[in-house]
Amino acid sequence: MVTITINGKAVQANEGEMLLAAIRRQGIDTPALCHHDAIEPCGSCRLCMVEITKKEWEGWTRSVTSCLYPVEPGLIVSTHTPQLLELRKTILELYLARSSQSEVIQKMAEDYGITHSSFPVIPDGDDCIMCYACTRICEELGCFAISAVDRGHDKKVSGPLRQPPPDCIGCLSCAHICPTGFIKWQDLDSTRTIWERQFELLSCRTCGKRTITRDFAEYLMKKRNLPAAYFELCDDCKRTETAKTMGKIVVAAQEVLK
């Protein structure tokens, strides 16, 4: 354990963890868009910036992204200094200029008292804030279906060769992790559409509910060495089946114990 000071309060933090985790455990609201526990932090959204100092720094302070800064003994952290609030407001205004239609960003900006951006709003701006949470989770899963393409203003997330990604398995991880909900998908009957590709959805053998895509099931079968039967039921029916089996075992056990 490491002792650090957050907003004047001495707290314990786990060795090796990042400041953001320690701050959030204290119930202190630190905004962040690109951060997600499922992926390695990358510090691209800059919203989780905090001010750090140490006794021996003789009054010097540094602003760092808390999601990327590991805890150190004796660290003194401030999360809401006037400078930090100003910094976050500027960042939020920039996001608002780029993604003026994003409800997530609008809400976040509102919390900081911002209703409109003082920067010129990009007319054809979209909700993608280039945090690469989608490409990072795709890499983490081992699919590498999508990546950042081009540079500067033209940069965007896309499949290789600007085509629908051939390695995509339609798992929706990218869509679920996207902080602004920019990545859209559609499930229609037995077809899922995402990244301009169509996937066949499997259905539960018992209740008929659509489960996951065939590509995703095949991917899991290979990666986790699961039998095809594993994907025949939906989660609810699987639970029911398990409960039934457990019930049978209990009854049998009671019989034996009688």
Partner: protein
């Protein structure tokens, strides 16, 4: 467009088969074909064990790589501050009219490509154009035809 695929294999063969060799391989392919053909990207991805999405990400990030075919002669026109003041814009317009294409384009006969760059670090020689890596300084509009090698 058809390419000599054996050339691609030859380039890949002589490089180490590891992800770290990606940029070096792409550079060699770019040097050979003046751009990165689609087949080369997939072959590189397969040989080095780098996902195609990553290969594509790298090849679109660096200005040194082109995904569209480029001409035999690449004319880089510097539009840095010093060159700009010394009339690089006029030189550019002259070259564009000489070749009948705009910056970023390639002539139909695949002989010339015009590129605009932001500074080549030769400000004392402004305005500068580079024809296939040969630097030409203090370029005047009436010299462009000669420098391009056209009558």
């Amino acid at each position: 467009m058809m390419h000599d695929l054996s050339k691609i294999e030859e380039i890949i063969d002589r490089s180490p088969k590891e992800p770290g060799a990606l940029i070096a391989v792409l550079q060699d392919i770019q040097r050979e074909f003046h751009y990165l053909p689609c087949e080369a990207l997939t072959a590189t991805s397969r040989a080095l064990g780098v996902p195609l999405s990553k290969v594509f990400s790298v090849s679109t990030f660096y200005n040194a790589f082109s995904l569209t075919p480029r001409g035999e002669k690449i004319i880089r026109i510097c539009q840095g501050t010093a060159c700009h003041i010394k009339g690089a814009k006029l030189v550019q317009e002259q070259i564009e009219s000489n070749l009948g294409i705009k910056a970023g384009e390639t002539t139909k006969d695949m002989k010339y490509t015009i590129e605009v760059v932001n500074c080549v670090g030769a400000c004392a020689m402004a305005p500068v154009i580079i024809v296939n890596n040969k630097y030409h300084g203090k370029v005047r509009c009436d010299q462009t035809r000669k420098l391009l090698g056209i009558k």
